[in-house]
């Protein structure tokens, strides 16, 4: 055997997988961090207020000062939140007054120290139409400043699958038009960063979690005919009202039942945003 010449051998350490490397197959995935180790495209396309010039930025560029430098002392608004799933279902808002803000006065908007899209509670939203049935797994990182603000909904009909802040201390998840019971406990502090999880695949597989805790979701009423979502609405109800006053940092939608992976996904998101 050849001598090693006292060299220290260090095995190649496997890269920590991004969320979509660990749990691939998302129908749509939006984030201000890279969700895959192989994802190199931008995460946002931003319009700056000074001259309406647009440019696109990677997750690193959002955080390292590149985005802030692009906006100068002005503001920046997100025209496009890029879909990292590979399905090119980008969230695009061409109406400038409806675009969420990401830079304010030359500083990137932060929520708990990490970049965030600021929704104004007036008219900011994205609507992404695509073939999407009634059954989804949804994970999001948000904060909400006011009650009755919708965070997530179906594309063109309210409450196929949706979530909104029902009171200053509890979210309400609605799955297939059925009112979920109000949370029996108090999982939310107004305006705080929260991880919301929702899995709906049948009458029996239908639950929601707040920060990884069982929300105590309970069925109420009958279960009408299952209707397709036809896509998603980010930041208001599917009926284009009840706008979100708050922030978004991540939204991932699967068309598959992620019950088995829920804690893995929640763990990656929680630690990825901590």
């Amino acid at each position: 055997m050849a001598p090693m010449n006292n060299r220290l051998l260090v095995a190649n350490q496997p890269a920590v997988g991004g969320l979509l490397d660990l749990v691939p197959g998302a129908a749509a995935a939006y984030s201000l961090r890279s969700l895959s180790n192989t994802y190199t495209d931008p995460v946002v396309t931003v319009r700056r207020s000074s001259d309406d010039t647009e440019d696109s930025f990677t997750a690193t560029e959002v955080s390292d000062g590149t985005l802030a430098a692009f906006c100068g002392v002005g503001d920046g608004f997100v025209k496009q939140w890029w879909d990292q799933s590979g399905n090119t279902r980008h969230a695009i808002q061409t109406t400038t007054t409806y675009q969420p803000q990401i830079v304010s006065g030359g500083a990137v908007t932060l929520k708990d120290g990490k970049p965030a899209l600021q929704f104004d509670g007036v008219n900011d939203r994205y609507k992404v139409g695509f073939t999407l049935g009634a059954y989804i797994s949804m994970f999001s990182v948000v904060s909400v400043n006011a009650t009755n603000d919708f965070i997530f909904d179906s594309y063109d009909t309210a409450n196929i699958n949706s979530v909104y802040l029902a009171s200053s201390e509890s979210f309400r998840f609605l799955m297939n038009l059925i009112s979920g019971g109000a949370m029996p406990y108090r999982p939310y502090t107004l305006a705080s960063q929260a991880l919301l999880s929702m899995i709906h695949f049948s009458d029996d597989i239908r639950n929601a979690w707040v920060n990884g805790s069982d929300s105590g979701y309970t069925l109420a009423g009958s279960h009408p005919t299952v209707a397709p979502m036809n896509g998603i609405t980010i930041g208001c109800a599917g009926s284009d009202n009840l706008f979100l006053d708050g922030t978004y940092q991540e939204l991932i939608v699967y068309e598959t039942d992620q019950t088995a992976n829920r804690e893995l996904i929640e763990g990656n998101i929680s630690w990825g945003w901590s």
């Binding site: 920590v16 029996p184 960063q193 929260a194 990884g212 805790s213 763990g267 929680s270 630690w271 945003w273």
Partner: protein, 432 residues
């Protein structure tokens, strides 16, 4: 502010995610037992940050030597729901079984003996008694309390006739397996003792105590008439009484603790306005254990195992403070208010027989002197260092509030840092 700190402590990734980070999880066995029972009541485990606050409290109380003296107690903050807040901090007292030599009573020609090295009971004579020799282990049990007894015997287990708490309370005993199990209240003669009745129908025979545990059962409190509702509960501040109808029956008899070894304590998150008894039993009856608190005029009037009111103390617990009192001897009681101790030398009386109430006094079975204060903790038990309990409870309250207000994990932070950050939040600041 950390999403990771908000994960429930029993989440698969609460302790960390490979390559992304890690955080401490609660370690103390009693803490995990408490958190588990709370999670059942709440429907979900509390956040890692809150769980670590409780863990630091319990391990700190043990280090300070006050844990074993805490018997009936609830942390009325931190839990996700009112139901979780009413889960007893501990449902068992400390282990009472210690290796000891029993008193042996022979009868009808029985010949009992004890081998302390192997914890073995033997009978060397064939006698005519089906229940002798009698091995009596003095455990200091009280007929006012229930105990859970678990254990296993080996050897000639069929020759143990029966196992009793006192002479009138029989425990379940399986002669084939040697397993003892049961929860019962001692009664009859020798009620302070655990009794093994041996069978002398054959000899020689030997039975060894392989394992034995005797622990006091601590009752859960009762939200009487479901008077407290969810809206009365705050995760950070605690439970607010209405000063008129709402109170808890602690489930612990005032006489469950010795006449000259008792304490009561509370954490006052917000003062009540009227003269009231936030915790106590006995009103002005013999052996009352309660303090009337006049928040408005800052006077506390103690009765600590006594029917006559002691001279008032010109002080009253402020909002956000610990309040407690104890009796540690026949002529020594102490009341702690806002960090100051007030000692008295009045003589104790036989304790009033009735449960200790919280948010009210127990006047011979009827609640009286309700308080409208907000309380976030109470404890009832034997005498202890009120100063050390004050330190532990104050730290607990700050850590819970820190966890819930900042969303961060308080594990590893010293109390001064936590206090500083909280005062910053109270002044309108944030960590962001």
């Amino acid at each position: 502010m950390s999403l990771a700190a908000k994960l429930p402590y029993d989440h698969a990734y609460a302790g960390g995610f490979p390559g992304l980070g890690a955080q401490p999880l609660p370690q103390d066995a009693d803490c995990l037992d408490y958190l588990g029972r709370m999670a059942v009541a709440d429907g979900a485990g509390v956040e890692v940050s809150v769980a670590n606050a409780v863990d630091a409290f319990i391990s700190g109380a043990k280090d300070a030597g006050v844990w074993d003296s805490i018997r009936a107690s609830c942390v009325l903050a931190g839990a996700r729901t009112l139901a979780g807040a009413l889960v007893p901090l501990r449902d068992y007292g400390p282990e009472l079984w210690t290796e000891q030599s029993p008193e042996i009573v022979n009868d009808a020609s029985s010949c009992g003996s004890w081998d302390a090295a192997t914890l073995t009971m033997t009978n060397s004579c064939v006698g005519s008694s089906g229940a002798h020799p009698l091995f009596q282990f003095n455990m200091g049990l009280s007929a006012a309390k229930s105990y859970t007894v678990l254990g296993r015997l080996s050897g000639d287990t069929s020759h143990i006739h029966s196992v009793w708490l006192g002479t009138a309370t029989q425990l379940s005993y399986d002669k084939a397996t040697g397993v003892i199990s049961g929860t019962a209240t001692p009664s009859g003669a020798a009620s302070s003792k655990l009794l093994f009745y041996y069978n002398t129908t054959a000899a020689p025979t030997a039975v060894t105590i392989e394992s034995l545990s005797v622990r006091e059962v601590i009752a859960a409190p009762t939200n009487v008439a479901n008077g407290f509702v969810e809206g009365d509960y705050s995760r950070t501040a605690g439970l607010t009484g209405d000063g008129a109808t709402t109170y808890l029956d602690s489930g612990r008899n005032n006489n469950a603790d010795p006449q000259d070894s008792v304490h009561h304590s509370i954490w006052v998150s917000a003062q009540g306005l009227a003269v009231s008894v936030p915790i106590g039993a006995g009103f002005n009856l013999t052996g009352a254990t309660r303090c009337a608190v006049s928040f408005g005029t800052s006077v506390v009037t103690p009765r600590i195992r006594e029917s006559a009111a002691q001279p008032g103390i010109s002080d009253a617990p402020l909002s956000g403070s610990f309040f407690g009192y104890r009796r540690s001897a026949a002529a020594a009681s102490l009341t702690r208010i806002n960090g100051s101790d007030y000692a008295r030398t009045t003589t104790s009386e036989v304790p009033f027989d009735g449960n200790v109430f919280v948010f009210a006094d127990n006047n011979n079975g009827s609640p009286t002197a309700y308080t409208g204060a907000t309380l976030a903790f109470y404890s009832i038990g034997t005498s202890l260092s009120l100063e050390d309990l004050d330190t532990s409870v104050t730290d607990l309250m700050n850590r819970i509030r820190f966890a819930l207000v900042t969303g961060e994990n308080p594990a590893g932070l010293d109390p001064a840092t936590i206090d500083y950050v909280l005062r910053g939040y109270d002044a309108g600041g944030t960590l962001a």
